[in-house]
Subunit: 214 residues, 2 copies
DNA sequence: CGATAATTTGACCGATTGGTAAAACATTAC
DNA sequence: GTAATGTTTTACCAATCGGTCAAATTATCG
C-alpha cells in the first residue's frame, strides 16, 4: 500500500524528515516573499527541487505546509519576549530584548516577513493564536513593566504600546529591508544598519524611559 | 471604433472618471489585503460592481491598476515628511510629524497596507522610486535633524534610524492592526489605541531625544 | 534473495487565472 | 434624426491553479 502519505506510520523515515525539511525551507522562501495567496505549490516544489505530486505526498495541501511553517515561526518568534524576566533589572532586560529582537530580524528575515505577510493580510490562519497565547504572554509581560514603573524604576508609560513599538522598530529592519537598503544605499552605510539601529534604539528607549545606567 | 479603451481621447468622459475611481477604490481594498500576486482581476471587478471585461476596458492590465494606485499612495504618503520644516523648532516638528503619521495610519490603513505589501514582497514595482525620490527626501530631512543635533537642540542620534523608527511605530498601527486589536481586545482598550499610541510615542521621542518643552 | 512498504513519476482533472474579440448597446455631437 | 464615438456584454482563449490517480520505481527488512 502507498496510502500512508507520510502520516500513517508512527515512526518517521529518514527520507521523510529530510524531504519535509527541504519543503519547509523552500516554502519559507516562497511564502515569505509572496504571501499565502500569491504563492503556488509549483513554486515551492521547484524551489525544493521536486515534482509537485511528490511534494503533495508529504503535505496534503498548501495550507498544511503554511500552517506548519507558521506554527514553528510563531513559537520561536516569541522566545525573546518569553525570556523577559520580571526579576531582572529594567535596563538589562529592555536592552537585551531590543538586541535579541534585532538579531532575529537580521538572522531570520524570512521568518519575520512570513509573519508580517500573515498579519498584514488579516491573519486568517492565526487569529486564535493571537487572541489566545500571544495576548496572554503580552498581558503577563505588560504587568511586569507596569510594576517597574510603579516602583519608580522606569518612567510611567503604557506597557502595551511600549511592546508594540519595540516590535515595530526591530521587525522593520527585516520586513522593510528593501526600503531601508534603498535609503541607506550610499557606500557602506547600509552594511552597518543593524549596529546603527541597535545603538539608536537602545539610546532612544533608555532615555525615553528615563532609565539611568548603573 | 471602440478601440480607444479610455486612453486615445484627450478629454476624459464623466463616465470614465467615475468608473476609474470606482475601480481604484475597489482595487485598493483587494490589493491592500491580498498583495499584488494574491489579488485577481475578478475580485477587483466584483468589488467595483462591474464585469471583468468592462474593468479591462478602463485599465488594460492588472499591473496598470496597481501602478496607478501605488503612484498615488506613494505621493500622499510622503506628505508629512515633506512638511517637516527645517526652520520650525524640533519639539513641534517631531511631535506633529508623529501625530500626522499616526493619523494617516488611522484614517488610511488600506493605503498603508498596500505600501507595506509592496515593500514586503521586495518592492518589484517601485524600486526606482525608493532609490530616487524617497532617498533624496530622507537625505534632505536627515540633514535637518543632524543640524538640530549639532545646535544642541536635540540629543545626537542617527537621523536615518530616527526616521525609520517613526515610520515603523506609526505604520505598525495600520499594518499590524489585527495583532494590535487582538492583544488589546479586552473591553475598550482597543478603541483608544490611537490616542494611547500618540501619548506613548510623543513621550518616548520627547524624552528619548532629550527635548524639554518650552 | 523476495516481499512488502515507501517514494516518485507522468498523465490528468475541473476550476480559476489574466486577457481578448466582436458584437450589442448607450451616449454624444451635429 | 443620424452618425460617430464611447461603453458594456457574451462568449471565449491558453495558461496556470490546487490537487488526484495509478502505475512505476526505490528502499527496507527478514
Amino acid at each position: 500500500m502507498a496510502i500512508p502519505r507520510a502520516a500513517k506510520t508512527q515512526r518517521r523515515t529518514r527520507i521523510q524528515e529530510e524531504k519535509e525539511e527541504r519543503i519547509l525551507e523552500a516554502a519559507l522562501d516562497v511564502f515569505s516573499s509572496s504571501g499565502f495567496r500569491g504563492s503556488t505549490i509549483d513554486q515551492i516544489a521547484e524551489a525544493a527541487g521536486m515534482s509537485k505530486p511528490n511534494l503533495l505526498y508529504y503535505f496534503r495541501t498548501k495550507e498544511a505546509i503554511h500552517r506548519q511553517l507558521i506554527d514553528r515561526v510563531l513559537f520561536t518568534w516569541l522566545e525573546p519576549l518569553r525570556a523577559f524576566d520580571a526579576e531582572g533589572n529594567p535596563e538589562a532586560e529592555i536592552r537585551s530584548y531590543i538586541r535579541r529582537k534585532l538579531e532575529m530580524a537580521r538572522d531570520f528575515p524570512r521568518e519575520s516577513r512570513l509573519f508580517a505577510n500573515e498579519i498584514l493580510q488579516g491573519a486568517p490562519h492565526i487569529e486564535d493564536e493571537l487572541k489566545g497565547p500571544l495576548k496572554e504572554l503580552v498581558d503577563e509581560k505588560a504587568e511586569v513593566i507596569r510594576a517597574w514603573a510603579r516602583a519608580g524604576k522606569i518612567a510611567g508609560c503604557d506597557p502595551y504600546h511600549l511592546i508594540f513599538s519595540i516590535w515595530a522598530t526591530t521587525q522593520h529592519y527585516a520586513d522593510f529591508d528593501v526600503q531601508v537598503r534603498a535609503v541607506l544605499s550610499q557606500e557602506s552605510a547600509g552594511d552597518r544598519r543593524f549596529e546603527d539601529a541597535a545603538r539608536f534604539l537602545e539610546q532612544l528607549y533608555m532615555d525615553g524611559l528615563r532609565i539611568r545606567a548603573g
